[in-house]
């Protein structure tokens, strides 16, 4: 027994020494980087006019690196499929109906959160904001509803839920493919339509992101009304 604790302490000591060496090495590498490095900011600023929005981060996320965002929405959906494949909603403590404070707070805050999400989505074109932030606020509204005891009706939990989840990625892919059919490359927006296309993709994406994150919070596949 004594050897086991001694072994454990020795292991931890060696680990701390190795990790300190790692931290020192990484710190040295970071500090030896140049103090001024423009990176890609000059190219982004030069091409910002053609991107359809004036917020550089939104331009990068939805235009210049739009393919990464498409794949990221695929990752979100994949994580949800993984969680759903592990079973139904985990058993909860038999919950009493929500107290009056939670109930009233949910009723007050959820419409406000939806409004804030819409604002963040719209303002993301020219100020900090965008589809992911709006989707996250929508997900927060969904989580608040779920905590207050609301569950989606069984009619909504089947096909309509799945359609809502897939719409974001679906519209993104559809826009990309439509551009290929119009003899451009994947997701190469024409500068005159870029703003409108980005807004369309962002609306669908925020809805899907919000519902996906709220469904991840629920933690399992919701029950579906059996087909007659």
């Amino acid at each position: 027994m004594i050897e086991k604790t001694k072994q454990k302490t020795l292991f931890r000591l060696v680990l701390i020494m190795l990790l300190s060496a790692l931290a020192a090495g990484l710190g040295y590498v970071v500090l030896s980087l140049p103090t001024q490095a423009p990176g890609l900011s000059e190219q982004v600023t030069a091409n910002l006019v053609r991107s359809g929005v004036s917020n550089p981060v939104t331009a990068v996320l939805l235009n210049f690196r739009g393919y990464d965002t498409l794949l990221e929405m695929g990752v979100l959906l994949l994580a949800l499929v993984g969680v759903w494949s592990l079973g139904g909603i985990p058993e909860q403590r038999k919950s009493s109906p929500p107290g009056p404070v939670l109930d009233m707070l949910a009723r007050l805050l959820v419409p406000l959160l939806i409004l804030v999400a819409g604002y963040l989505l719209w303002v993301g074109a020219y100020a900090p904001g965008g589809a992911f932030q709006a989707g996250a606020v929508l997900a927060a509204a969904g989580v608040l509803l779920l905590l207050a005891g609301w569950r989606p009706g069984t009619r909504f939990s089947g096909l309509p839920l799945r359609i809502a989840l897939v719409t974001g990625l679906g519209i993104f892919v559809a826009v990309g493919m439509a551009l290929i059919l119009l003899e451009r490359r994947l997701l190469e927006y024409s500068p005159s339509f870029a703003g409108a296309l980005i807004l369309l993709i962002e609306v669908a994406a925020s809805l899907s992101i919000g519902i996906t994150l709220a469904a991840l919070f629920l933690g399992g596949r919701p029950e579906v009304e059996p087909r007659r």
Partner: protein, 100 residues
């Protein structure tokens, strides 16, 4: 760039130290609930760090997703973990024979 005043240095220093300290306390805390709450606070301080680094979009995303939603996910998982532990101990007590 612009000159760094002493106040800015002090703010950055305190924020950096608070980030490291919160992370250490969250990871080393024996109580899981306390660890998760400290992690949520850590996420909120990260949002402040993003603002300090001129990244407001990242700050919005971190505050909403990194601190808020991740915290909610972790707390729910902890509650389900404890619930399963409780039902197991209750079943174990049912199985042990009663001594008269």
């Amino acid at each position: 760039m612009e000159e760094m005043t002493l106040l800015q240095w002090a703010f950055d220093g305190v924020l950096g130290f608070a980030l490291l300290w919160l992370a250490w306390r969250a990871l080393a805390s024996p109580d899981l609930f306390k660890a998760i709450v400290l992690f949520i606070a850590f996420g909120l301080l990260m949002a402040l760090a993003w603002v300090r680094l001129d990244a407001p979009d990242v700050a919005l995303a971190e505050a909403a997703i990194g601190a808020g939603l991740t915290g909610a996910l972790l707390l729910t998982a902890l509650a389900r973990l404890d619930l399963k532990n409780e039902t197991e101990t209750v079943h174990k007590e049912d199985n042990t024979p009663q001594s008269p």
